[in-house]
């Protein structure tokens, strides 16, 4: 009896203090941001460099609403099940205010429903698969989606390469590749081009001579092959061996140093659509970011994942600032209101929880990635 009296008394005093506005309810308490990135496993490369981008952003902007920002990093081990577990842990144990992550589409696809159910705002820097945000109220992303990449690829092939006939080579074991290739074909034919041939392969294949010989026989002007860099390097090499000498166009999965190391001379002239390149920055904040990143991590090239992570942090903090609190519903609403955000990866506006923003086209020249064009949406 007495205990409950004491409790209710404390409650009344506390409520009174709050209503009197004696300080913010959470004053002094940090803003908790959960991060689930692949720090180990096959995608660890991305998690490691992406977290560098987040840390840099936090160093430059350590406070929001006069409260410290604190990261709760959970390793999703590049695994779908671990991703869902990581998000549950962040919500239930760490009680985070918002979540950043995951990086790859498949990890984000398994983490997102958990956040959606618990009604915690989540924003992914890099997951480009359209399904990630579809029908979700609490899930956002800071990047464009695959249909846009397919569209930019088609536009580049038609307008810059003046291609009439395109051959398409698709890795059918990757949702990402199948999706982006379909959007390319749809847009390319809409723009007056023709699909000369369409062939398939699987992740891990090494010999593409049969497919490439068939493609050569269909006499295309361009080869669109939105695969991962490992297969892409071999495809470029074997294309030369069977005498297929047309420009190759790819998607953002081509962006890895190994593409050039393995492909050598064969990948010269290979172009691909992607999110960011340090030479192709269009915004002031982009220039500042490249400089700060180079200074903070000597010898490491600021890439798409680190730049998008950096942007994600600032998009989220802007939303919290506009919301005036970490109230989850308010932050969610403000994330939806993101307009003309001056990010390092370009000026972007949130639309249906996806970002409308420019894409960058890079090409391999003299053994290096070179910026070719920035395509506005």
């Amino acid at each position: 009896m007495r205990k409950s009296l004491l409790l209710s008394l404390t409650g009344v005093v506390f409520a009174a203090l709050m209503s009197l506005g004696l300080g913010n309810a959470h004053a002094g308490e940090p803003v908790k941001i959960g991060v689930y990135y692949p720090m180990t496993g096959p995608s660890a490369v991305y998690g490691q460099i992406g977290y560098k981008g987040l840390q840099l952003a936090q160093k430059e902007r350590p406070k929001v609403l006069n409260r410290e920002v604190k990261f709760f990093l959970t390793d999703n081990k590049s695994d779908k099940v671990e991703s869902a577990n990581a998000v549950s842990r962040l919500i239930q144990k760490d009680k985070v205010d918002a979540i950043i992550g995951g990086l790859t589409s498949s990890n984000t696809l398994s983490g997102a429903p958990v956040a959606e159910k618990a009604k915690v705002p989540m924003i992914s820097p890099w997951a480009t698969n359209p399904v990630v945000t579809q029908g979700k109220k609490w899930v956002f992303r800071a990047c464009f989606i695959d249909p846009f990449q397919g569209y930019v690829g088609a536009k580049f092939a038609r307008e810059n390469l003046k291609a009439k006939n395109a051959a398409v080579l698709i890795d059918i074991s990757q949702d990402y590749c199948v999706g982006i290739a379909n959007f390319f074909m749809k847009n390319f034919t809409k723009m007056g081009g023709k699909i000369a041939s369409k062939l398939h392969y699987n992740t891990g294949d090494l010999d593409f001579t049969a497919q490439l010989t068939a493609i050569k026989n269909s006499k295309p002007d361009v080869l669109y092959c939105p695969g991962y860099f490992k297969e892409l390097a071999l495809i470029a090499q074997q294309a030369k061996e069977v005498g297929l000498d047309v420009p190759i166009l790819a998607g953002d999965a081509a962006q890895a140093d190994e593409l050039i190391k393995i492909g050598g001379k064969a990948v010269e002239g290979l172009s691909f659509t992607t999110h960011f390149d340090e030479k192709g920055v269009t915004t002031e904040s982009g220039k500042k970011f490249v400089k700060a990143f180079r200074a903070a991590y000597p010898g490491v090239t600021p890439d798409s994942v680190s730049a998008l992570s950096y942007d994600t942090y600032n998009i989220l903090l802007d939303a919290i600032e506009r919301a005036g609190s970490t109230d989850k519903e308010k932050v969610r609403a403000e994330l939806e209101n993101t307009k003309n955000f001056q990010g390092v990866t370009g000026v972007m506006t949130m639309k249906n929880h996806d970002m409308v923003k420019p894409a960058v086209i890079l090409t391999v020249k003299d053994g290096k990635f070179q910026w070719l064009a920035t395509v506005q949406p």
């Binding site: 096959p42 490369v45 698709i170 059918i172 074991s173 041939s197 369409k198 062939l199 398939h200 392969y201 699987n202 891990g204 090494l206 010999d207 001579t209 049969a210 497919q211 010989t213 068939a214 026989n217 490992k230 390097a233 071999l234 090499q237 030369k240 061996e241 069977v242 005498g243 190994e258 190391k261 393995i262 050598g264």
Partner: protein, 295 residues
């Protein structure tokens, strides 16, 4: 399909098939002598490419010297695997050795993942293997021609070793009756060590040529060639080196022609490779050149 296109695809098939056959030679030889399916063969092959890679990048050897050193080291690795993993099981049921071979395979893959890392590394292709030859519009990579020649050359060497030398005679004796051989005054362990060393050196040649054709190496690169070589060996009649090469060519040409004639099935070509194996086994359980029953 034009005859011209068909010939180009046939060349592609020969290029792929000769590599399958080359790897299958070592596979089938070890089986023929020891009746052991050495599932670690593909991973031994993978190790050889790393030996050659480090020979060139770290010790700055010319490519042929790196290849020779890699062959020697791989032979040593094969002998070590035999001494460590298979020798204690000499008298155990055959299934125990088979499972141990799978264990050795996983062991090599995972140790390499830890030591070499999972990112693929670029492999070299020497100048002489680089030219692309044109024959009336048909292109052939010179490496493909050399690979076919090397495969046929090795076939002769294996034949001579097994049928024309004293060691070969001992090897054939071991294949007939492993337990009686020591009673005849033959050092069984020496013969088996030689077989493993020889088989691993063959794997090294196959691995290095494979990596020159598809110039990226990684710890799990041995799995698919190992499986395909196994299929080739079984197709041709396991234990028979000529059958292994024949099986390799059949497998390679089938895979390529499937894509050539039915491009819409190009994503399922591995499935058809294994379907071919099943069909052959239904009609000829011992493979194309296999003996009907072991003596």
């Amino acid at each position: 399909m034009t005859i011209h296109l068909f010939l180009q695809q046939l060349i592609n098939g020969l290029g792929l098939g000769s590599l399958y056959g080359l790897i299958a030679i070592g596979y089938t030889m070890v089986y023929g002598i020891l009746r052991l399916i050495n599932f670690a063969h593909g991973d031994v092959m993978m190790m050889s490419t790393y030996f050659a890679f480090f020979g060139i990048s770290v010790f700055a050897l010319p490519w042929w010297a790196a290849a020779l050193v890699a062959m020697a080291l791989t032979a040593l690795l094969g002998i070590t695997i035999d001494q460590g993993a298979y020798r204690p099981l000499r008298r155990a049921p055959r299934i125990s050795a088979l499972i141990t071979a799978i264990g050795v395979s996983f062991f090599l893959e995972n140790v390499s993942l830890v030591v070499f890392g999972s990112r693929p590394r670029p492999f070299f292709r020497p100048e002489m293997f680089r030219p692309i030859w044109h024959f009336g519009g048909i292109t052939v990579l010179s490496l493909t021609v050399y690979t076919i020649l090397i495969t046929l050359g090795l076939l002769v060497i294996v034949y001579v070793v097994v049928y024309k030398t004293r060691m070969g005679m001992a090897m054939r004796a071991v294949s007939k009756d492993m337990h009686t051989v020591p009673l005849m005054g033959i050092d069984l362990n020496r013969v088996i060590a030689f077989t493993f060393g020889f088989g691993s050196a063959l794997a090294a040649i196959g691995g290095i040529l494979w990596a020159m054709k598809y110039p990226q190496i990684e710890p799990l690169m041995g799995i698919i060639p190992g499986l395909k070589a196994f299929v080739a060996a079984v197709l041709g009649g396991i234990g028979n080196v000529f059958g292994a090469v024949l099986g390799g060519f059949i497998l390679g040409i089938t895979e390529i022609m499937l894509v050539a004639f039915w491009p819409e099935l190009s994503g399922y070509r591995d499935a058809f490779a294994f379907l071919l194996l099943i069909l052959v086994l239904i009609f000829r359980p011992t493979g194309i050149m296999g003996e009907d029953l072991p003596e």
